[in-house]
């Protein structure tokens, strides 16, 4: 999995490339472990083909953290990942934007 972050003021944009599965979810978690000072977290999922249960857990934790200090959105979600969010009820919890 490859992560590219850009911070502009309180906005942190992260482009994620690759599957977020049991093996790679800890990498995402570690990379976004320190969100101090971030008011808006924007995740770009253009190149994410699959999110596993472990990945969902990391996303939920990030969403909870950002609920306390700002907002989080996920953009460019592919059909498979959208299905994962829909089937697990995450589409009601996460903010998914086109």
């Amino acid at each position: 999995m490859d992560l590219q972050s850009v911070k502009e003021g309180a906005r942190l944009s992260v482009h994620v490339a690759g599957r977020i599965d049991t093996k790679t979810a800890p990498e995402l978690e570690a990379a976004l472990g320190d969100l101090a000072g971030v008011g808006e977290l924007a995740l770009d999922f253009t190149e994410v083909p699959y999110v596993s249960s472990a990945g969902l857990r990391v996303l939920l934790a990030l969403q909870k953290t950002m609920n306390k200090q700002g907002s989080m959105s996920i953009s460019h979600v592919c059909e498979d990942v959208m299905d994962v969010f829909d089937m697990t009820g995450f589409s009601d919890v996460l903010t998914i934007v086109p």
């Binding site: 049991t22 596993s52 249960s53 939920l60 934790a61």
Partner: protein, 532 residues
């Protein structure tokens, strides 16, 4: 029982991902649909993640896929015992409360359940996959084709064999199924109305919802019945005369209105009186809303009963292709040229009604929302295609949500609020189809209705249409009720049953097209549409 695949891996991050990918590929190669493959992949990595965090990390695990009685089952066996979450592997503080419970919740949300046990020092988890089902359109269409062949064979069978088969098997089975469906309609209507009322949360919300969304849905459905009335009258003529079926004077309308309130809670179900059942259900729902804080269990019980009725219904509806088969065999066995003409006429009429409704709402929305009709048609078309091809509004649910939010610019809050309500109650296609059925049945039976029974028919179509379940074949169970409640004979029932596959596709396609447009019109009124 035959083992199709057995793989051994280690319960660690890499092993979990490999096993999950393996099961996905295996099912995909077996022809399972993509969503089923994804569901099982998630369920598998969910339980293995749970095991990793409960003392089984590093254990050897076997993944077996086998066939039992024609159903595929997946079994996981890992050496060791499940313990409390290992602090090293457990979720960090950020995930507090989302450890084992989180994985279980994910699997539960997927609608799957692992059967976990311990055998000979090994932890076992087994899951049986749902039976691979034929596409509803293929199953029902196949039933029609087979039935045409069987019906022709019976028709031309020598020595009265055909007639004997009809009277001994086909007709009794068909009647039994109609009876079964009629018995289920009452509870289905009752609990769906109760749950809708209780779902409002409180009386204030119910009132607010009723003012805008429900009132406009009712208006839309009623307008659709009126359109169907006009089109069906053009096709079959207006079946009104003095001394016709169902009543004799305008005073009967008053009698019907007054008779909406049942004398007791059992009679409406015994009589199959839908108007009384709806009235009873609304009263019950409001009562449960008032008592919700004091007796929350009652509301929960109503919801459980609704789920139970839905389960029974879905079990019965599995036999729908068989039912269609019986209807078509009976029809082909006794069909003459005039019935063939009737079938073509009724199909043409339904198609015209659906086209008129779709065109009407497109133009109305273009005017209200100030969006071009072409844009509205293009936006709503993908959902309509899914609805038409699957005969299921549920299948197009996510696409319709996207159409509303991305295509029409409706706010996410309103789109999410309105879609379930609109899917359940905005049924312009179903209400119209019932109206066509009434006109057609009156024309086939050569029965003249009185004005009062025609008024009852309009109200009945309006109410029953809103309770049609959003599943393939959901309207079948209501055809007989419409005819019985309007005092018409059941002669047309078999023809409607036989053509139901086509009606289902037409109606669902039209409704899936119209729903996002209807929500757009509401959203404009509530100022829930972003400027485009």
């Amino acid at each position: 029982m035959s083992v199709e695949s057995a793989t051994t891996f280690t319960v660690d991050a890499e092993g979990v991902d490999e096993a999950a990918a393996l099961i996905f590929d295996l099912l995909q190669n077996e022809g399972y649909d993509r969503r089923t493959c994804l569901r099982l992949r998630l369920a598998l990595d969910g339980i293995l993640l749970d095991w990793m965090e409960h003392g089984l990390e590093g254990a050897a695990c076997t993944l077996t896929v086998e066939k039992r009685f024609g159903r595929r089952s997946v079994t996981l066996k890992a050496a060791g015992h499940l313990g409390v979450a290992d602090s090293g592997a457990a979720a960090p503080d950020a995930h507090e409360g989302e450890g084992a419970g989180f994985c279980a919740a994910i699997v539960s949300n997927l609608g799957l359940e692992w059967d976990v046990s311990t055998q000979d020092g090994r932890v076992c988890a087994a899951l049986t996959l749902p039976r691979k089902q034929l596409h509803p359109l293929a199953a029902n269409g196949g039933a029609v084709v087979l039935a045409v062949v069987a019906g022709l064979a019976l028709r031309f069978a020598p020595g009265g064999v055909g007639e004997a088969c009809m009277s001994i098997a086909v007709t009794p089975l068909f009647d039994a199924f109609v009876g079964l469906l009629s018995a289920l309609v009452g509870p289905m209507v009752f609990f769906s109305v109760v749950v809708a009322v209780v779902g409002a949360g409180d009386l204030k919300s119910l009132k607010g919802m009723g003012k805008v969304t429900l009132a406009r849905i009712a208006g839309g459905n009623f307008a659709s019945v009126c359109v169907a009335f006009v089109v069906a009258a053009l096709f079959f003529g207006i079946p009104v005369g003095v001394g016709g079926a169902g009543g004799s004077s305008a005073a009967d309308v008053v009698k019907v209105v007054l008779g909406v309130v049942p004398s007791n809670v059992v009679q409406p179900f015994l009589d199959g009186n839908i108007l009384q059942i709806v009235c009873l259900a609304f009263g019950t729902g409001v009562g449960l809303l008032v008592l919700r804080n004091r007796l929350p269990r009652l509301a929960e019980l109503a919801m459980e009963c609704d789920l139970l009725v839905q389960e029974v219904l879905s079990a019965v509806m599995r036999f729908l292709p068989g039912f269609i088969f019986l209807a078509v065999v009976g029809l082909v066995g006794s069909m003459d040229a005039s019935m063939m003409v009737s079938l073509v006429a009724v199909l043409a009429c339904v198609a015209c009604v659906m086209a008129a409704l779709a065109a009407g709402i497109t133009l109305a929305a273009a005017f209200t929302a100030k969006q071009s009709p072409l844009h509205i048609m293009r936006t709503a078309a993908p959902g309509a295609v899914i609805g038409f091809s699957t005969s299921s509004s549920a299948a197009a649910y996510t696409v319709v949500q996207d159409e509303m939010r991305k295509g029409f610019g409706i706010s996410a809050t309103y789109a999410k609020f309105a879609q379930p309500i609109v899917t359940a109650f905005y049924q312009p296609g179903s209400v119209s189809l019932f109206m066509v059925l009434v006109f057609f049945a009156a024309s086939v039976s050569q029965v003249e209705l009185t004005l009062s029974s025609l008024a009852v028919a309009v109200v009945m179509c309006f109410l029953l249409g809103m309770t049609a379940p959003p599943v393939p074949g959901g309207m079948v169970m209501l055809y007989g009720v419409v005819l019985a409640q309007t005092g018409l004979g059941q002669e047309s029932l078999a023809l409607f049953m036989a053509a139901n596959v086509i009606f289902d596709a037409l109606v669902t396609g039209a409704e899936t097209y119209m729903r996002p447009i209807h929500v757009l019109r509401n959203a404009v009124r509530l100022e829930e549409v972003s400027a485009r």
